[in-house]
């Protein structure tokens, strides 16, 4: 199997097992200890990712990502997804609205060995706030 095929399989596993099946225990197998997600704020390591998704799934227990496109080159994988979820649990200081969201996202990640070491997620957060009825941050 080429490096690209292995990397795509590893990233696909993250979406199918960790995100869609909420299997947080698998995170250290797929995310390196020195992993950095270039978000604001940055998310560091498998512990950072575990904490991030733990919080997200408490507020959005049916968070689901359908992979629309996935392609790879060298040590990078690009994944385009459609995200659907319902806001049913408290998120930060915001009470759940019960509303649904459907939006698209792109994730670019770099792998070393079998694990993700660096990532970028680009999505329209405005679309999430508006669809879910969450007040916009100042």
């Amino acid at each position: 199997m080429s490096k690209e095929e292995k990397n795509k399989a590893a990233v696909r596993r993250f979406y199918e097992e960790v995100i869609n099946k909420k299997n947080l225990a698998l995170i250290p197998e797929l995310i390196a200890p020195n992993y950095v997600s270039h978000a604001t704020p940055e998310i560091i390591g498998s512990e950072g990712i575990k904490s991030y998704f733990s919080t997200a799934f408490a507020a959005f227990p049916d968070w689901h990502e359908k992979i629309d496109y996935m392609f790879a080159e060298g040590d990078m994988v690009a994944t385009f997804t459609t995200i659907t979820s319902t806001f049913t649990g408290k998120w930060r200081d915001t009470a759940p609205t019960g509303k649904k969201v459907k939006s698209q996202a792109v994730s670019l990640c770099r792998l070393e060995g079998d694990k993700q070491v660096e990532g970028w997620v680009i999505l329209d957060s405005l679309s999430f706030y508006q669809q879910l009825g969450i007040p916009l941050p100042k």
Binding site: L108, W120, Q130, L136
Partner: protein, 140 residues
């Protein structure tokens, strides 16, 4: 048409010539007549659609530049992560300019056919963009 050819078109004709220099004629060379841009405000089609997009952007950001941070290509598809910089000096979506500088990450999905672009899908955080521009956020 090869992966390397698709990347070269994006790097040179698309980014440098079309967007960064405003050379609209390049759109006729690299954009297919079947091209669809799935924008947040609706679809734009063909080389004329792209020329409209470039003109609107360069009107709002006369010093605007896209620079490529990452490019991932396989088969007929390319993903690009960009940094867009510019000063909001011209009207944008009917809104008067604020003179604010912007520095924003954008990502795109591109599909190629026969050496030309046939589809594009943009991704950016509109919330960050509106905040940087210093304009009110339109109601959802």
């Amino acid at each position: 048409m090869s992966v390397e050819n698709n990347k070269a078109i994006l790097r040179h004709q698309h980014v440098e010539e079309l967007f960064n220099k405003g050379n609209l004629a390049v759109a006729d060379e690299i954009i297919s007549s079947e091209y669809v841009y799935h924008g947040p405000a609706g679809e734009l089609k063909g080389p004329e659609g792209v020329k409209q997009l470039v003109t609107a952007w360069r009107t709002a950001f006369p010093d605007g530049r896209f620079s490529i941070d990452d490019m991932i290509a396989e088969g007929d598809k390319v993903a690009v992560r960009y940094t867009m910089t510019g000063t909001f000096k011209g009207e944008y979506m009917g809104i008067a300019p604020t003179g604010n500088k912007v520095n924003i990450t954008a990502a795109f999905f591109y599909r190629f056919k026969g050496g030309k672009e046939v589809e594009a899908l943009p991704f950016e955080d509109q919330l960050t963009f509106y905040h940087q521009l210093g304009i009110p956020i339109p109601p959802g």
